[in-house]
């Protein structure tokens, strides 16, 4: 493929969702809702095609890049597809396709209002996420990061009631404040270093300035990533945002938004400040321990939640901290594991959320205590839930296993055995909060009366528009468990990203 074609693909990956959002808003309900949904699906497929067409080129080491325009004095709006960005882009684009189908099923099944705004904002989010993936410098990154922040807001407040308003405010306070801190840090970096372009291994060099200053600037900037990735104590917007419709929680709070936060941490640690600087100023150490504490605490909180979505939310908080932890170990294996955990967690958690949404729409149940025996009614959904739960816990032959093993290897390389323990403990804890759900669902005794009527040959499964996407996500996860390089060569990309940062192999 020629260079121009590559950069064309890059640009269209970012522009397609933006255009789709505008078209959806314009079309609205004026023609027919099927037309509006067709725009979403078309855009999702087109974007996935663009992103996946970039895979072979990036795989052989060609970095597709594109400078769109001069966006500020001396700075450009430029995109680049490197291995790290490709991983995130492939996850987000492929899962957008799956979620689009699921969304249509969910929103119609649930008779939701304001669907036009919903699908438009969804597309806006994806535009932000794509920009975040492919941004070649901090300013471009920040522009799309803020677009992502703002276009997620309408999704969080989708129900437009007092609860939604409250969550929306909470979300805005966390994300906007941290975004502004990032902005302040970025200004300082530009004023001192004169460049903002991401470089594997970092470009920041505050020559002569003391460690505390470097640490301060790093913490300012990384707060933006830590908030979106839900690192404690900055996590509390995430469970609150679960009031949004389930597909939103599924794609945005398990994939696009929170992963953008994790990706922000990766870009800052590995491509802006660099492992050397961070090891020296202890910046990574601070974040590492925060992430470690988050992993354990969030699991403990998750056990106490009886609302299924809330339980999954806290599980998300914990799982994302794996990624942050892996990156902050500052070892090649740690980074590889972190990158691959982005993939593993994305596919597994989206399955879990889709199951929760399917239960909610079909059986109108959100609380685990009301689900005793629901397996009689929705066996396929609950089976998928069980399988994904095991994957999250890190069962072999599911992608979660490989990523966690790699992060553990990273902890060993870093000489931090305590994090191996944390990982093991957390895996057990995640079993403790996810398996009871399956147990209750398939319980043979004390089944709630409403489920007794169901049995073999008489099921009340979720609609196919929801069931097929969630099974597809699970199937992809399974295939990746056996072949880590299936499809988008995620594992190879993860390794390539790590070796570009740390030099040499793992």
């Amino acid at each position: 493929m020629s260079e121009t074609m590559l950069s064309g693909l890059l640009l269209s990956a970012v522009l397609i969702p933006a255009a789709a959002g505008i078209i959806i808003l314009a079309v609205g309900n004026h023609v027919h809702r099927n037309v509006r949904e067709a725009v979403t699906l078309l855009a999702a497929f087109a974007m996935a095609t663009c992103v996946f067409s970039l895979v072979p080129a990036v795989l052989v080491g060609r970095e597709a890049s594109l400078t769109v325009m001069e966006i500020a004095d001396g700075l450009t709006l430029s995109f680049k597809a490197d291995s790290a960005g490709m991983i995130f882009a492939c996850i987000a684009s492929s899962l957008w396709v799956i979620t689009s189908f699921y969304s249509i099923g969910y929103m119609r099944g649930h008779g939701e209002k304001n669907q036009t705004g919903y699908f438009a904002a969804f597309a806006g989010c994806l535009c932000g996420a794509m920009g975040v993936c492919f941004a070649a410098d901090l300013l471009t990154f920040f522009i799309f990061y803020e677009i992502l922040t703002v276009s997620t807001y309408p999704l969080v407040v989708h129900y437009r009631d007092s609860k939604g308003k409250y969550s929306g405010r909470k979300y805005l306070i966390y994300t906007l404040v941290s975004g502004q801190l990032f902005f302040a840090g970025m200004v300082y970096v530009y004023a001192t270093c004169g460049t903002l372009a991401f470089t594997p291994g970092g470009f920041v060099d505050f020559a002569g300035s003391d460690k505390m200053l470097t640490l301060g600037i790093f913490l300012l900037m990384v707060s933006a990533g830590a908030v979106k990735a839900g690192v404690m104590p900055l996590h509390s917007w995430l469970p609150a945002a679960m009031v949004a419709p389930t597909p939103v929680s599924a794609l945005l709070h398990a994939v696009a938004v929170v992963k953008a936060g994790a990706f922000c941490v990766i870009r800052l640690v590995c491509y802006t400040f660099g492992p050397e600087v961070l090891r020296e100023c202890m910046g990574a150490e601070v974040l590492l321990w925060l992430a470690g504490v988050t992993v354990i605490l969030s699991s403990l909180i998750a056990i106490q939640k009886t609302n299924l979505k809330a339980r999954l939310a806290f599980s998300t908080v914990g799982q994302l901290s794996y990624i942050v932890m892996g990156v902050c170990l500052l070892t090649p294996a740690g980074m590889t594991g972190a990158m691959y955990h982005m993939v593993a967690h994305a596919f597994l958690k989206i399955t879990l959320f889709m199951c929760a949404g399917a239960i909610f729409v079909t059986a109108h149940k959100a609380d685990i205590t009301e689900m005793r025996g629901i397996g009689r009614r929705m066996p396929v959904t609950m089976a998928a839930f069980t399988a994904a739960s095991l994957g999250i816990a890190g069962l072999p032959f599911l992608p979660g296993f490989l990523s966690k093993m790699t992060i553990m290897e990273g902890a060993r390389q870093a000489g931090q055995p305590v994090f191996v323990l944390i990982l093991v403990a957390s895996a057990l804890l995640s079993l403790a909060y996810l398996i009871p759900v399956s147990y209750i669902a398939f319980a043979g005794t004390k089944v709630r009366e409403e489920y007794l009527a169901y049995g073999p040959g008489n099921r009340g499964e979720a609609s196919k528009l929801m069931l097929i996407p969630l099974l597809a996500a699970l199937a992809l996860a399974f295939v990746m468990g056996f072949f880590p390089d299936f499809g988008a060569h995620f594992y190879t990309f993860a390794k390539a990203a790590a070796s570009s940062v740390y030099g040499g192999g793992i």
């Binding site: 325009m69 001069e70 966006i71 500020a72 004095d73 700075l75 709006l77 920040f142 522009i143 803020e146 677009i147 703002v150 807001y153 309408p154 407040v157 437009r160 009631d161 939604g164 308003k165 929306g168 405010r169 805005l172 906007l176 404040v177 502004q180 801190l181 902005f183 302040a184 200004v187 300082y188 530009y190 004023a191 001192t192």
Partner: protein
């Protein structure tokens, strides 16, 4: 012919609106509509010529125009560089759009009202353009007075409350203008010249004298009052809130910015900002601006009326410009100028929208904007764009002025200003996202609903009726607007153009910087 136009461009740009103001009453005698259209035509021509002038200046550099062939420093000079040329385009553009926007307010109004408003609006444009063009400090005073007087009249046209606010502004504004006049008298005494360029050469040796110091203090106070810089802003909220809705965009968007521009001219082009004497005043301006940014935003949060929220937000936003002046340096000044441009567009856009909502529903209380987006989608989209730009969401205009200001502050080591910028934009987010909540989530529908909402609506309606007389005068509001579009096309045009302006000014700010660069690099 075209040669003559080119050589007289600087003066044509300023005088065309003046001519419009003079012709309008005469033509209105025959046809009110034709009278209004005359003003629009003259303002439009002025806008086109200002664009031509800007293109020419980017080609050939500075232009100096001598009135009546008198050489400066004896005669009056219009001195234009890329900085003033860009602002001229901005002013004449906003003025032109405002004249179109005002049309629906005067459909079926008496002849006197119609030409009275249009003549004065045209005069305001002329005054603002003159202040920007002139290279003579006394001439600047003349145009400042033209601006002020027409401003007083336009604010007074906003009804009973407008008259009161206008009177208050008249009292304070006159004091401000007097300070400026005294200031130039002092400087004239020290240097013996009124020409800016000449003065900048002569002021050096007397910069440390007490008289010059007093003059500079007077300039800070005079311009500070005119631009409503905290704590000299007392007149501003009521004036912006109660101004005639057709003129409010121009008044709020541009009228406060031109004195800020004049202040920048004085400090950097007449005096040398790099000397310790001027720096002291810049520190004062910086403190005033920083406090104003916080104060204005906090007050804006407390407002329930859309217009007064915007007015208080303007106090905060003019602080950004002052901050840029205080930061000095290339990026500080660039940030100030880019913010003048960006904020003019944002504030005009928001006032265009507020006027449009008021035109259609007679409504300015934000808690009654519930679900308004269903009825006025385009207007609401424009509000969202302008508000996000005010918060500083990239890639809109507001983000980049903040970027340059912060960069300037970082380059100068004034980190406290970055902190103030961050706090202020977060406070902006508070009141603008609350506006979004009202617009998109409030179930309290603007045109009547059930339950407690209806009760509150009736109560608020009675209060609004008591409070604001001008509503009753507005035929369109009383009848309820019945057009095919959400608002009359003239208004829709203004709303869309200003919203597009915000996006374009954001995306193409690098080009703006390139155009402005030579003029600013001259003084840093």
């Amino acid at each position: 012919m075209s040669n003559m136009i080119i050589s007289n461009l600087p003066v044509l740009v300023v005088l065309l609106p003046l001519a419009g103001a003079l012709f309008c009453p005469v033509i209105s005698y025959f046809s009110r509509r034709a009278g209004r259209l005359t003003v629009i035509a003259f303002a439009g021509t002025s806008f086109v010529l200002s664009v031509v002038q800007l293109l020419r200046i980017t080609d050939v550099g500075k232009i100096s125009y001598h009135f009546g062939g008198w050489e400066p420093p004896f005669g009056i000079e219009f001195s234009l560089d890329s900085l003033s040329a860009v602002l001229l385009v901005l002013i004449s553009g906003t003025g032109f759009v405002s004249t179109i926007y005002s049309l629906p307010f005067f459909r079926g109004k008496s002849r006197f009202r119609s030409f009275g408003y249009y003549s004065v609006l045209s005069l305001l444009i002329c005054g603002l353009l003159g202040m920007t063009s002139t290279g003579d400090v006394f001439n600047l005073y003349v145009f400042l007075e033209i601006t002020s007087l027409s401003g007083y009249a336009l604010i007074a046209m906003g009804g009973d409350k407008g008259v009161l606010s206008s009177f208050r502004y008249l009292m304070i504004g006159t004091i401000g203008a007097s300070f400026y006049l005294l200031g130039i008298a002092f400087i004239y005494g020290e240097t013996g010249t009124l020409n800016m360029y000449d003065m900048s050469g002569l002021v050096g040796p007397v910069l440390s004298s007490g008289t010059t110091m007093v003059a500079m203090a007077f300039f800070v106070v005079g311009f500070g009052i005119k631009m409503a810089l905290f704590p000299l802003h007392g007149w501003q909220p009521a004036a912006y809130t109660n101004a005639h809705p057709g003129a409010a965009p121009l008044i709020a968007g541009v009228m406060g910015k031109v004195p800020a521009y004049a202040m920048l001219r004085f400090f950097f082009y007449v005096f040398n900002a790099n000397t310790q004497y001027v720096e002291r005043f810049l520190v004062v301006v910086g403190i005033m601006s920083a406090l104003g940014m916080i104060y204005g935003s906090l007050k804006a949060i407390r407002q329930t009326d859309f217009r007064s929220m915007l007015a208080y937000s303007s106090i905060a936003q003019i602080g950004y410009v002052g901050l840029g002046i205080a930061i000095t340096g290339y990026y500080g000044l660039m940030g100030a100028v880019i913010h003048i441009i960006g904020h003019s567009m944002m504030k005009s856009c928001l006032f265009f929208c507020s006027g449009a909502i008021r035109y259609r529903y007679g409504e300015t209380a934000m808690e009654r904007f519930g679900q308004i987006y269903r009825k006025m989608p385009v207007t609401c989209a424009a509000i969202v764009i302008a508000a996000l730009s005010m918060v500083g969401v990239p890639p809109l205009a507001g983000f980049f002025s903040k970027w340059y200001l912060a960069l300037g502050a970082a380059n100068m080591g004034e980190y406290i200003f970055i902190f103030v910028l961050v706090i202020s934009s977060l406070l902006n987010a508070v009141y603008f996202f609350r506006l979004f909540e009202n617009m998109f989530m409030n179930k309290n529908v603007a045109d009547g609903s059930k339950g407690i909402g209806a009760y509150l609506a009736v109560k608020a309606e009675k209060k609004a009726e008591r409070d604001s007389v001008p509503f009753k005068e507005m035929a369109a509001t009383k009848e309820g607007y019945k057009g095919r579009l959400e608002i009359p096309p003239a208004m829709l045009f203004a709303v869309i153009v200003s919203a597009l302006g915000i996006i374009l000014a954001g995306l193409f700010n690098a080009q703006l910087v390139e155009i402005l660069g030579p003029a600013i690099r001259e003084v840093v």
